[in-house]
Symmetry: none
Subunit: 226 residues, 2 copies
C-alpha cells in the first residue's frame, strides 16, 4: 500500500469534485474521479482505491446501488455524500454499511478531516505532501525542514512561521499575523517575531539558503520565490 492513499471521488458536479480534489491533494492524497454510477464501479474495480467518497445523486444508477456493488466485492471504506437530510434517514435505515456520512453543503476541510478519520480507523495514515521550493523542503508530517541533503534543525515556532510563509509565497504578513499562526495562545509582544525570524534566517543561511525571507519595512515579512 502506497504512502499516499488513493481516494475515489464519485461526484457529478465538476465544481464540487474539483474542490474536493484540490483539498485532498493538498493533504497528500491521490485522487481518481468518476461522475456516474457505472464508471464508479468499474473504476473501483480497476484502481482499487483506499477510500471512496460517494455522492448519492449521480446519473446512471445512484449511490446506494454503487455502494452495494462495491461491497459485494470489497470492504473498501466508503463515505456517502448527500444533498438532503432526508437521504440521510434513508441511508441510515438501509444499514448498508457506509463508514461515514457528509451532508451538503459541506466544508471541504471537514470532508478531508473525515477521510482521515476513517482511514485512521481502518489503520492507514494520511501522508502529508512535503512543501518544496528549490532546495528547501518542508515535511508537515515530520515537522522537519531540509535544504538539499542537510537537515535544518528548527524549533516548532520557526517551523510554523516558515510553513505559513511557504504556503503563501510572496505575500507580506504582519508580525501580528505571524504571531497568530506560530504562537496562537501567546500574548507576547509582536517583536518576538523578529527574534524567531532572525534565528530562522541564520539557520537557513547556514544550510545554504540565504535571503529567502525579505523584510518589508513598515509592514512585515514575506517569503520571496523567484
Amino acid at each position: 500500500m502506497n504512502a499516499h492513499p488513493l481516494v475515489l471521488i464519485v461526484e457529478d458536479e465538476p465544481d464540487i469534485a474539483d474542490l474536493l480534489e484540490a483539498y485532498l491533494r493538498r493533504d497528500g492524497f491521490r485522487t481518481e474521479r468518476a461522475s456516474d454510477g457505472s464508471s464508479a464501479v468499474s473504476l473501483h474495480r480497476v484502481a482499487r482505491p483506499d477510500l471512496v467518497l460517494l455522492d448519492v445523486n449521480i446519473p446512471d444508477f445512484d449511490g446506494f446501488e454503487v455502494l452495494q456493488k462495491i461491497r459485494a466485492s470489497a470492504q473498501t471504506p466508503v463515505i456517502m455524500v448527500t444533498a438532503m437530510a432526508e437521504d440521510l434517514d434513508k441511508l441510515l435505515g438501509l444499514k448498508l454499511g457506509a463508514d461515514d456520512y457528509v451532508v451538503k453543503p459541506f466544508s471541504p476541510l471537514e470532508v478531508v478531516a473525515r477521510v482521515k478519520a476513517v482511514l485512521r480507523r481502518v489503520g492507514m495514515q494520511a501522508a502529508a505532501q512535503p512543501l518544496r521550493f528549490a532546495d528547501l523542503e518542508l515535511d508537515p508530517l515530520a515537522v522537519r525542514v531540509r535544504v538539499g541533503n542537510t537537515r535544518v534543525d528548527t524549533t516548532l515556532t520557526e517551523y510554523r512561521i516558515l510553513e505559513h510563509l511557504l504556503r503563501h509565497p510572496n505575500r507580506t504578513f504582519t508580525r501580528g499575523e505571524l504571531l497568530d499562526v506560530a504562537l496562537p495562545e501567546s500574548d507576547a509582544l509582536e517583536r518576538v517575531i523578529d527574534t524567531h525570524l532572525g534565528n530562522l534566517r541564520k539557520k537557513l543561511e547556514q544550510a545554504g539558503m540565504p535571503d529567502i525571507i525579505e523584510t518589508v519595512r513598515g509592514m512585515g515579512f514575506r517569503l520571496c520565490l523567484e
Copy 2:
C-alpha cells in the same frame, strides 16, 4: 459599500434580535430583521445586506437552508449563530459555508467584533487582485511592484502613493490628499510628496516605465492611463 454597512439579523427570539440591533447600531451599522427562513431569503434578495447574522434554529426552514439559498445567488458574508456546540461541526471549515460562527450564549460585543472582522476580511479580498496598467503590476497582498519581469523596490510610502494613483486613474490629487493616503499620521510638510514622488518616478523610469505620473501645475499629480 456604504459607510454604514447593512446587517441582516435573522433571529426568531425578539429579545436577542433587539440586543444585537442595539449594539450594531451603536457602532454605526444599519440593520434589518427577519424572524424566519423564508422572510430571511426574500429580505436578503430585496435589501442586499453587506452581511447576514444567521441563527441556525429558526422557523420555516433552518439556517443551513437559508445559507444555501443565499449562496445560490450571492456571496454575501454570513455569520452563523448556533445554540449548540454540536452544530459547530457542520459549520467548521468556513470555506464552503459560513464566514464565521458564534455560539450562544454570546456577548453582543463579541458579535460586533466578529462582524467587523469579517467585513474587514471581505473588504481586503476585494483589494486582493493585482492592479495592472500595461506592464506595471501592483500586488496588494505581496505589497510589491513590478514592471514586466523586473521588480521595482519601493518603500512603503512610495507603494501607497502608487497604489492610490492606480486605483483612481486620471484623477488629480493634491499633495494633501496623497499625504493623507501615504502617511496618515505624519505632520510633515506637503512638499515631502514631491520628494517621494521624485524617488518613485526615478525608480519607475529605471524599470522602463517613465512619465506615467504627470504633474498638474498648481494642483497636484495624477497617473495618466490612456
